[in-house]
Symmetry: none
Amino acid sequence: MPESVGARQAQAQRTRGAVLAAAAAAFVDQGVQAPIRDIAERAGVGVGTIYRHFPTRADLVTAVYRHQIDTCAALAPRLLAESADPFTALAGWADAFVDFLVTKHGLGAALGSDDPGLANLHALMLDTLVPACATLLDACAADGDLAPGIAAYPLLRAIGNLCITGPDYDRADARRMVAVLLAGCRRTA
Amino acid sequence: MPESVGARQAQAQRTRGAVLAAAAAAFVDQGVQAPIRDIAERAGVGVGTIYRHFPTRADLVTAVYRHQIDTCAALAPRLLAESADPFTALAGWADAFVDFLVTKHGLGAALGSDDPGLANLHALMLDTLVPACATLLDACAADGDLAPGIAAYPLLRAIGNLCITGPDYDRADARRMVAVLLAGCRRTA
Amino acid sequence: MPESVGARQAQAQRTRGAVLAAAAAAFVDQGVQAPIRDIAERAGVGVGTIYRHFPTRADLVTAVYRHQIDTCAALAPRLLAESADPFTALAGWADAFVDFLVTKHGLGAALGSDDPGLANLHALMLDTLVPACATLLDACAADGDLAPGIAAYPLLRAIGNLCITGPDYDRADARRMVAVLLAGCRRTA
Amino acid sequence: MPESVGARQAQAQRTRGAVLAAAAAAFVDQGVQAPIRDIAERAGVGVGTIYRHFPTRADLVTAVYRHQIDTCAALAPRLLAESADPFTALAGWADAFVDFLVTKHGLGAALGSDDPGLANLHALMLDTLVPACATLLDACAADGDLAPGIAAYPLLRAIGNLCITGPDYDRADARRMVAVLLAGCRRTA
DNA sequence: GATGAATGAGAATTCATTCAT
DNA sequence: CATGAATGAATTCTCATTCAT
């Protein structure tokens, strides 16, 4: 009965999606350490279901952010093609990254954490965002527009850290300070 | 018996000092979330003693860092007096702040956290570090050396965030990115 | 469509066989408490299938060992016919029983357990092994070769218990101690 | 205030004793795998108290049986001195051991288990019961009363296994089968 | 008949916090 | 004032069992 199997798999995918949405919401409210039980309740599923789909917390965290990380990475070449100059592209990309990070409250902290269980997430960032950012930096450098000693990975980590917001330091502050950081990356003429 | 009262108070002060030292060491090793029991063991006291001196964890965290925060704040006017120009003083002060933050593993995260229990620490920062930093910024601005829109509080938060280190982003990276941030604060000629 | 019914039944039998084989293997590796899911995976079937064929774990345990218990029971009359004297037959049969038990890691413990769910297994033993053993004991008694007060059931339970092995007490030890037990069963001249 | 400290320690000892008694009772009813929570409830304490006194289950199991194991071991030299011949002493000691084991339902199984967490218990047995039993066996051997190839450790394991009782195999059966085993240990004249 | 996704009860373990001494 | 035993809520994780397809 292929229809039944397909229906069941479709249902499982829907459940998986509900879990991811619930986890994303929980991460915004409580950070990536949100109790599994809370996520299960938000998703309207049992805890066992979470464990079935995502055996470890790191699996869940990674899955939650993977799509958006990929989207963010894909933005880089597009901006590079569309922008007047590479540095403008870099600035635009950083803005998008900041929006991503401050919306997903807690991801900045997750990226900054040295929790070994989050190694997946680091790897994901290394594999997708670092190359994307490096492309932009290389273009800026080729343009003679980049101060020396700016590497993609620390820059991303720095932007990530700058996006750890709180009651007295909000998205606008994060954007401003990232802009300042990027200004510091620009070669002084 | 005034002497016994004095002796008792002196003993209490010594106990308090031992707890602060133990907590500082525990925070370096385990972050500001170190279990109270571990701190008590390091200090050679019972957990009840810690609760007597510091009813909440935030009280303890604040007390641990207060002295060093004060020292850091006091550095600002000295550097301003000694340095060739205000921006050099600002850079030197930032360096000292970075050293302070990365040595006290976890303080950066504590400053960046919006845990309501850490409001004391934020207040402390507001009361001492922000004015100190503002003095430096004002001097830079008076010198025409500061880009517009740089406020003391967000700058401190930004530096604090940049000092959240990890296995792939260490003290040297933090120093570098703070230097880049400061470069971005400088008015372009 | 009688053929399809037959085919379905044949398929069901094959499934049942696969489950039994998988369960036997799992019991060797993990004991009779092996997770149902593990058994299902080994068998390449869903857990529901196991529950359909064997509603309780005891049903599965019993089914797994039934054939081998029957084989063991059938050995008794054969040995009695072939051996020089009844006591030799008894010793040979005990050896075979020991081999059976220690190979089926966990069965000894299952026989010794008073888990009410394993009542089936006890009943099975009572129905097949006890008569087989009793035949041998009767023959020994008729030969004047058996100490008084040796009953089949406790003897089997004793042998079963002696076959509960571990890291410091292995199959060889079990064989030795069963031999000692049988020596104690022999009438002293 | 030495009195206060002494009182608190005395209270802690009483708690510890209550936990041991509750654990012993729980082990009789449910085996050594009894849930910690059940033991805590029987003892009228919180689960944390159990963990404070006995960090691992093995610690608890060991503590529960240590005293009785010591008592049992101490019985050996006494019986040897009082009995007419060494083999009588051995038989008497085995009787006492059987009483101990069947009363402490579950210890036989614990001794037979290869759970690595119960290594302590095995070590305890090795350190105290094996030497005690070996003394008796040596005396029997010196008397020319012992069949060859009987070692203390496997013999103890065997007796332990024979004492795993159940609904159809009770203390009387265990005693009988141990007696048969010992008869098998005696040198045939 | 077969499947396996979903459920949720149950067990272990940790630690902040209280309070009698 | 200091102590640390006791408490129990909170959290993670596992697995037997059910049931819609």
